[in-house]
């Protein structure tokens, strides 16, 4: 576990010391600040509008940061040859990959934490209540989603290259909701084979919308927090995809000549 932590710490240091995350947070802050400034016009329901925009921006910005950070981990190690001294130490390839994945998770958590501070500050400024329990569930599910995206980006970066992994990863994040609703919509009109194909697609691709609690958090006056069972089921659901993508990445990496 110590070796995994040491490798993860390196990824976290990279995320914290490079400028990308801060640029992303700053850009997002500008968008959120614009929404807060609308309060000058005393619009009705501004706090809900603020929460909706802020949470969506948080989620999108963290997802982009996660995909980029995860996708570049292995190609950069190969390109800069930093992998040689690292794997010359007594650390197995699976521990190396697990450390990288854990590091990306920590970086995503760092990014979310920055946004959370902004979100809470904005809510206090607008005198809007912060639904803490739903908020924590939101953050937890976001982290699960980031782990799915990170493991997918790892696999894609080994399968294709850095650019392709980033592009496909971000496209998948953006279109995930559309894919889910489109498959449900087309399913009714599809033939037998088409139905089987859509059903397979439904199981093969993770439905990222399941991890998006932003709408519930915005309307926290109407929606109670999720039950423990639902949270557990979502954890297992995410765990399956994380395991499958990580295993696929491991298969690509295991016998890869360096």
């Amino acid at each position: 576990m110590k070796k995994i932590w040491l490798i993860a710490r390196g990824v976290l240091l990279e995320a914290v010391r490079r400028k990308e995350i801060y640029a992303l947070v700053l850009t997002s802050l500008l968008i959120i600040a614009c929404v807060v400034l609308l309060d000058f016009f005393q619009l009705h329901g501004i706090s809900k509008f603020y929460r909706e925009i802020a949470l969506k921006v948080m989620s999108a910005a963290t997802a982009v940061a996660t995909v980029v950070l995860a996708a570049r981990q292995l190609p950069r190690e190969f390109e800069n040859r930093t992998i040689y001294p690292l794997l010359a130490k007594p650390v197995s390839r699976w521990r190396f990959l697990a450390g990288k994945l854990f590091g990306v998770l920590l970086a995503a958590a760092f990014c979310l934490a920055l946004f959370l501070v902004v979100f809470v500050a904005g809510s206090l400024y607008l005198h809007a209540p912060v639904p803490w329990k739903l908020m924590l569930q939101f953050v937890y599910l976001q982290l699960l989603m980031m782990l799915i995206l990170a493991s997918l980006a790892f696999w894609l970066s080994l399968l294709f290259n850095l650019d392709a992994a980033i592009t496909v990863g971000i496209i998948f994040y953006i279109t995930s909701a559309v894919i889910t609703s489109a498959t449900a919509f087309i399913y009714e009109w599809a033939s037998g084979f088409g139905k089987a194909l859509l059903l397979a697609l439904n199981y093969v691709l993770p439905q990222l919308t399941l991890f998006d609690l932003s709408a519930k958090t915005v309307h926290s006056d109407t929606w109670p927090p999720l039950s423990f069972q639902t949270m557990a089921e979502l954890t297992v659901y995410a765990g399956v995809f994380i395991t499958v993508y990580t295993a696929l990445a491991m298969l690509s990496f295991w016998r890869r000549p360096l």
């Binding site: 930093t82 040689y84 130490k89 007594p90 360096l258």
Partner: protein, 326 residues
């Protein structure tokens, strides 16, 4: 020299290919050698000879298409085989966002050192490789030479029993090379087994007990450094020996008339040189000048590569035989 005959590295009939089918490139073609505990062995060869590929096979970075590689008796690449070795890659950049101290903490930690032990070891280690006082500097500000020094520090931080250095002094200035030689001599004296490749053959000469020379993926010479140097002694003697022809025996030595009754001899055998000088004394010849020079490992290496280029079909044995000729 080796303290024991215990092999820390054992390579048998190693074959490493890159690519597949018609595009396959045979980087290493069935080489075998061993490195025993306590030895310092130089691994030399021209660019593309297969040195780095062989070293990568020792670390499990590339996988043999044939043969076997064992390090500390365990299969190469296994965690067990990497536990007690230090490795310096041919070219490596280190994480630019890290500080030198953090990088050494990472590598030392991966090798199982506790944080207390790391705190104790890192400052003197940085001093030893010439990076004293730079522990808190970000690596993005390090030059290539400084990165190489740091690479050496990460390789030796856990005081491994076996050091594998690919291109030992690559990127180092003369002072850096001197410092590195000092470090290696200290480690060698402490019994560390060292296996390294280098294009700086004077470095190999001065540090190694034994040399393994490879060419086009095959071992062409494997011998103690002293043995390689021994037959390469060359003596140039200029002398005068009265008027007229010189005695026939000197003609047999290949004496060349330089004019003005001066003759020169080019002798490649130490005994023959001793005999010639004794005979000159007997005959009252006057030695004008004498110069002895040992052909360096570099001369030997250049001859080997030329021989291989001029006679590409020659087998390894023929190379060695050809090169043993004066």
């Amino acid at each position: 020299m080796a303290d024991t005959d215990e092999p820390l590295i054992e390579v048998r009939d190693l074959v490493v290919d890159y690519g597949r089918g018609k595009k396959v490139h045979h980087a290493v073609r069935g080489i075998s050698f061993r490195v025993n505990r306590g030895e310092c062995v130089g691994f030399i060869g021209a660019n593309g000879a297969g040195k780095s590929t062989t070293m990568k096979a020792l670390l499990g970075f590339v996988f043999p298409a044939g043969g076997s590689v064992r390090v500390f008796g365990a299969p190469a690449g296994s965690v067990e085989s990497r536990r007690r070795l230090g490795y310096l890659p041919e070219v490596a950049l280190y994480y630019p966002f890290m500080k030198a101290r953090e990088l050494l903490e990472l590598y030392g930690g991966l090798q199982g050192l506790s944080s207390g032990e790391l705190k104790r070891r890192i400052p003197p280690l940085l001093d030893e490789v010439g990076l004293g006082g730079r522990g808190e500097s970000l690596l993005k500000n390090f030059s290539k030479g400084m990165q190489q020094r740091l690479g050496i520090a990460q390789a030796i931080i856990a005081e491994p029993e076996l050091l594998i250095f690919d291109e030992l002094s690559s990127g180092l200035d003369p002072l850096g090379r001197h410092d590195l030689r000092e470090v290696l001599l200290r480690l060698k004296a402490a019994g560390t087994t060292i296996f390294f490749s280098s294009h700086e053959l004077s470095e190999v000469e001065s540090l190694c007990d034994r040399v393994i020379m490879i060419n086009k993926g095959r071992v062409v010479t494997e011998a103690p450094v002293a043995d390689l140097m021994k037959p390469l002694n060359v003596f140039d003697v200029r002398f005068t020996c009265g008027e007229g022809d010189i005695p026939r025996e000197f003609q047999e030595f290949g004496a060349v008339d330089q004019g003005n009754n001066e003759w020169s001899l080019h002798i490649t055998d130490q005994d023959a040189y001793a005999r010639a000088v004794a005979r000159m004394a007997e005959l009252g010849c006057r030695i004008q000048s004498t110069a002895s020079r040992s052909r360096s490992l570099e001369d030997y290496f250049i001859d080997l590569v030329r021989e291989s280029r001029d006679h590409p079909a020659a087998e390894a044995g023929h190379h060695a035989e050809a090169l043993s000729r004066p």
